[in-house]
């Protein structure tokens, strides 16, 4: 199902399949003004969900670009990226079907006007995943759990909404692409159900790296990397207190989503329905605190 690739630069006859990838390490370089990074090493292991946080312009996207590019002290940050603790061969980048990394950004799009199922079958064929008969159905099903607006398989790809596109991109990378490492750049704006998405993604043993402004994604991650002026400033692991807080933030977030849904459905917000939801939220947070 996955590509085989040589694994060392000195032509040793070793090889590694996409399934063999078990960790990615980033070795620190420097920030925008040449300052050395405080974080000198960070390791992502299979199953990890990691967030990159920091204000706009703090170097979040550059960080995932370094991962995508197999940075080897040859990008503006001077960082190095290792797979399974060793420098990966650049040749991995040559063929996207052998590349262990999938990057999905806000700009990533489908341009083909083929029907969704035809396109997915085509991709599955390239990946030799088509022997697996239900792969297209599985992919669609997964995408449909990520987005609130179900994708019809006869729809043409270009008809999909932003949220549907993003959901299908993720589902395709996870299931058909079987990518061990997914980099997701600010996908929260696209109408993906975030809490649900994280729950679902955790069922797959992969490395998920989110560049995000969303507190919910950040707090539900195994750890977060805090960026400042182009450099990795800190690594924070959530503690017990944050575990309680995330629960409340989740409820707050759900509340906002419910309000949004009401607006979408042409309802009027009133003290009454707002009050009910708010007091439910407050009482639940008291519970968790006590």
């Amino acid at each position: 199902m996955s590509g085989i690739f040589p694994f060392s630069r000195n032509n040793e006859p070793s090889s590694l399949t996409l399934e063999d990838v078990h960790s990615v390490t980033l070795l620190g370089g420097h920030g925008k003004v040449g300052q050395k990074e405080t974080v000198t090493e960070v390791k992502f292991e299979m199953g990890n969900v990691v967030s990159i946080v920091g204000p706009t312009g703090s170097g979040k996207t550059a960080l995932i670009n370094d991962i995508e590019l197999f940075a080897n002290a040859n990008t503006p940050t001077g960082r190095r990226m290792l797979i399974n603790g060793a420098t990966p061969p650049e040749e991995l980048m040559d063929d996207p079907s052998k590349n262990p990394i999938a990057l999905i950004t806000q700009h990533t799009n489908f341009l083909s006007d083929l029907p969704v199922d035809v396109f997915l079958r085509m991709h599955a064929k390239i990946r030799r995943a088509h022997e697996h008969e239900t792969i297209v159905e599985e992919t669609l099903d997964f995408a449909n759990q990520l987005t609130g607006e179900p994708i019809i398989q006869e729809n043409s790809m270009t008809e999909l909404s932003g949220g549907q596109t993003r959901a299908l991109l993720i589902a395709d990378a996870v299931i058909i692409g079987n990518s061990p490492i997914l980099l997701l750049d600010e996908i929260e704006n696209a109408g993906i159900h975030r809490g649900r998405a994280l729950e679902l993604l955790r069922n797959y043993q992969k490395i998920f790296v989110f560049v995000t402004h969303d507190p919910r994604i950040a707090l539900l991650s195994d750890f977060r990397i805090v960026m400042s002026r182009g450099a990795m400033e800190k690594i924070i692991y959530p503690d017990e207190e944050e575990a309680i807080i995330i629960d409340r933030i989740g409820k707050l977030d759900d509340l906002m989503l419910r309000f949004r849904k009401r607006l979408w459905e042409g309802e009027r917000l009133s003290e009454k329905n707002l009050g009910g939801d708010l007091s439910a939220l407050l009482s639940s947070s008291k519970e968790t605190l006590s």
Partner: protein, 232 residues
């Protein structure tokens, strides 16, 4: 001197790629000269000379088919670059005619295609792709990985050459192109076109508008005949 000839459909990102490549070559101490061949207007040469301070030149084909024009002027252009002590001469061609290929034997040929122009594009391009040494696929930042894979498969089915994917705007993967350029041979005289594209210098290309083969010189044909030569 190395001769790098770059072709690709309009706005596919040739200039963007070549600027990134030039930047890296200059950083390695290479002396680069640049020629842009276009139909009637191009600001690239000015851009290259202002941005990089390297010898740059524009050549307009005007009334002549740009590929024909290329064949006619390339020899002198190479001499110009040599006189300017370039060790890498980059020629960006207009690439309007999909049946011609401007590449020469002993030079290095880059075909640039944008992945955004549809997954079947590689099938629609003839010698410009199949006679190239490498294909550079631009704008990968804009499409899904799945489509990149389909595009790539369609491309390598038509032309089994190395494919380098790039987000040229952000300079991603440019090092790989630079390495291929560095590996390419030194150009030797006399230069000969790689393919046998329909490059007959014809009176149609020179702007004669009359319809009907009897009004033209050069390689012509009738509706039913094979092409033949008419003229001196």
């Amino acid at each position: 001197m190395k001769l790098i000839i770059c072709a690709g459909p309009p706005t596919c990102g040739k200039t963007t790629v070549l600027k990134q490549v030039t930047n890296k070559l200059l950083a390695q101490g290479r002396r680069v000269a640049y020629l842009k061949e276009d139909v009637q207007f191009a600001e690239e040469a000015t851009m290259f000379s202002e941005e990089f301070g390297i010898p740059s030149k524009a050549a307009y084909s005007g009334e002549i088919c740009p590929d024909h024009s290329h064949v006619l002027i390339l020899k002198e252009a190479v001499e110009w670059a040599e006189k300017n002590q370039a060790d890498i001469f980059i020629v960006e061609t207009a690439g309007l005619c999909l049946r011609c290929a401007p590449y020469v034997e002993g030079g290095f040929a880059i075909c640039v295609l944008e992945v955004t122009s549809g997954m079947n594009l590689p099938r629609k391009i003839g010698p410009m792709l199949t006679l190239a040494d490498i294909a550079v696929v631009t704008k990968i930042d804009l499409v899904s990985q799945a489509e990149r894979e389909v595009f790539r498969m369609n491309l390598t089915e038509v032309a089994p050459i190395p494919v380098i994917e790039t987000d040229a705007l952000h300079g991603i993967n440019i090092d790989r192109i630079v390495r291929e350029v560095e590996k390419s041979p030194e150009i030797k005289q006399p230069m000969v076109l790689r393919g046998n594209p329909p490059l007959a210098v014809c009176t149609i290309c020179a702007g004669k508008k009359e319809i009907g083969w009897e009004n033209h010189f050069g390689v012509v044909r009738t509706l039913e005949s094979d092409p033949f030569y008419q003229g001196e």
